[in-house]
């Protein structure tokens, strides 16, 4: 297996992009990545998207995206794993380059979510849960994570105000990210007193509905110096993926996301590092409680202490364990299929030292954790400067 590097990244400002279609968004991000890398062709491409069929009535993104990027007859594959479709597209491209099947891979994700109304978006997102045994009975995605939050708070004594520290930190970081959907700060009171969605989670604990795309270019590490143009060379040193039960109720523990635990372990093993070797992480904070749980499950904090750590500022930009420097899904936005590649974009930006006001002092090795549904699938990537 060959070592693989990320040589280009592309994105746009995420948000409610009324005048942009799915193909507009995707092509913009892909072109940005190609230009950033400076490649003159691609050998293969992967498009992560969760549910374009339900959101915009369009499937067959392999053909659509290759066509509108103008790269037919390149081989293209649509990848779907709910909200970690983007991360899984990244992993798929990694595997193809590492195997030697292709040299230059475009990996990407996209979701155009605002063409449907709130009910339509809720319906589309709910397809990531167990349709017959969760959704049928009236549970929603905020409801599933709210049940994790109830369990976590009951077991570990996390308070409502402490949990609010997570979105407050996310908004503080997002305010420094020009690509973020929400670039304004918020307060603990603002989170706690906003509209209740599913007890104990308010609307400010929930990631928004977002239009957006992100892309990255991978190539063999040995070729990466040809595209470095003086920038750091960034190696994909660890990749891990795992699954868990589709229904939350089938899990033995509602305060642990085992797919993330296992995916992280696999990525650490591959990279030959541990949590203490990671400078910062982008995690899948689709809801505030998800950041608390995943920050523990990737090994940043002991189980039951992640929420208190966030409340103590340990995950802030100047904390010991910066998490979601981009603003996370909460503030940067959560165009579901694009999110995993958006995390890669942030890792590369920090590793290159290009993160502007939110740039970390030490950013040599970062981790991205992306998951689908209520954690039924997860993928973890570790990127490092070599």
């Amino acid at each position: 297996m060959r070592d693989v590097a990320v040589i280009g990244i592309g994105i746009q400002k995420w948000g409610e992009l009324w005048d942009r279609s799915l193909r507009d968004l995707w092509v913009e991000a892909a072109q940005n990545a190609i230009n950033d890398a400076g490649v003159d062709h691609i050998d293969t491409m992967y498009v992560g998207a969760m549910s374009p069929g339900l959101f915009v009535g369009q499937e067959h993104l392999s053909s659509l995206c290759a066509d509108y990027l103008g790269v037919t007859p390149v081989a293209a594959t649509r990848v779907e794993s709910a909200c970690c479709s983007g991360g899984m597209a990244m992993r798929s491209g990694f595997i193809e380059v590492a195997s030697g099947m292709a040299d230059i891979a475009l990996v990407s994700g996209v979701e155009k979510m605002t063409d449907v109304d709130g009910g339509g978006a809720t319906f589309a997102l709910a397809t990531a849960a167990d349709g017959d045994y969760e959704v049928y009975n009236g549970v929603t995605f905020p409801g599933l994570y709210a049940m994790m939050a109830q369990d976590y708070m009951h077991r570990f004594g996390l308070t409502r105000e402490e949990l609010a520290a997570v979105p407050v930190k996310s908004h503080a970081n997002g305010a420094l990210n020009p690509h973020a959907q929400f670039q304004h700060p918020t307060t603990v009171e603002g989170v706690v007193n906003s509209v209740m969605v599913a007890d104990p989670l308010t609307i400010m604990d929930c990631s928004p509905i977002t239009d957006g795309a992100a892309a990255a270019i991978l190539c063999p590490l040995e070729m990466a110096k040809d595209f470095a143009k003086g920038r750091p060379i960034i190696k994909v040193s660890g990749v891990g993926a795992a699954t868990d039960t589709i229904a939350l109720h089938s899990r033995k523990d509602f305060s642990t996301l085992n797919a993330t635990v296992v995916a992280a372990r696999r990525a650490y093993d591959m990279a030959g590092v541990g949590p203490d070797d990671i400078d910062f992480a982008e995690v899948h904070d689709c809801f505030s409680i998800a950041e608390v749980i995943t920050s523990e499950d990737i090994g940043f904090f002991e189980k039951g202490t992640g929420g208190k750590a966030a409340a103590a500022g340990e995950t802030a930009l100047n904390g010991k364990r910066p998490v979601n420097t981009s603003g996370g899904l909460k503030s940067k936005g959560h165009p579901v299929g694009a999110t995993g590649v958006g995390q890669i974009h942030e890792l590369v930006t920090q590793l290159r030292g290009d993160a502007g006001e939110r740039q970390l002092k030490t950013a040599k090795r970062g981790l991205a954790q992306n998951m689908g549904g209520s954690g039924g699938s997860a993928v973890v990537h570790i990127l490092e400067v070599v």
Binding site: G138, M147, D199, H249
Partner: protein
């Protein structure tokens, strides 16, 4: 998006709570599964969920999907049934402030969804306090 065949196909689970159980590891499956995965090679035997159990965790859904909008706010709980097996179900006939993790509940037969004014009525299980 009601599917008549899809509703009908699950009637043994929706109406009678039929699952199955692995003879080797005692795991109860609801809905029933064809196999206990590759770790157990024992046959799975029919197992009907007990109608009594307890709340493991819960929430109150205040922003509901389209088909449940008229019922919001409503509570949803993950329940462990006595003798094994877990369900996600609405917890009804209980003031929200009385819901507690660990509280005993019992399944009641309820209407779960209606396909508009003209379509089929879809029944199933909810839980109520004991």
């Amino acid at each position: 998006m009601a599917s008549v065949p899809g509703y009908w196909r699950e009637r043994a689970q929706r109406l009678r709570y039929e699952g199955n159980k692995c003879e080797s590891c005692d795991e109860v499956y609801f809905p029933p599964r064809r196999s206990c995965g590759i770790k157990c090679d024992e046959e799975l035997k029919p197992h009907t969920l007990s109608t009594t159990g307890k709340v493991l965790t819960y929430t109150v859904i205040r922003v509901a999907p389209t088909q449940f909008v008229d019922e919001a706010p409503y509570a949803v709980a993950i329940c462990e049934m006595d003798g094994g097996g877990r369900i996600t179900a609405q917890l009804v006939d209980c003031p929200f402030e009385n819901i507690k993790i660990g509280m005993p509940v019992r399944i009641e037969f309820r209407l779960i969804q209606k396909d508009g004014h003209h379509g089929i009525l879809m029944y199933g299980y909810k839980v109520v306090p004991v």
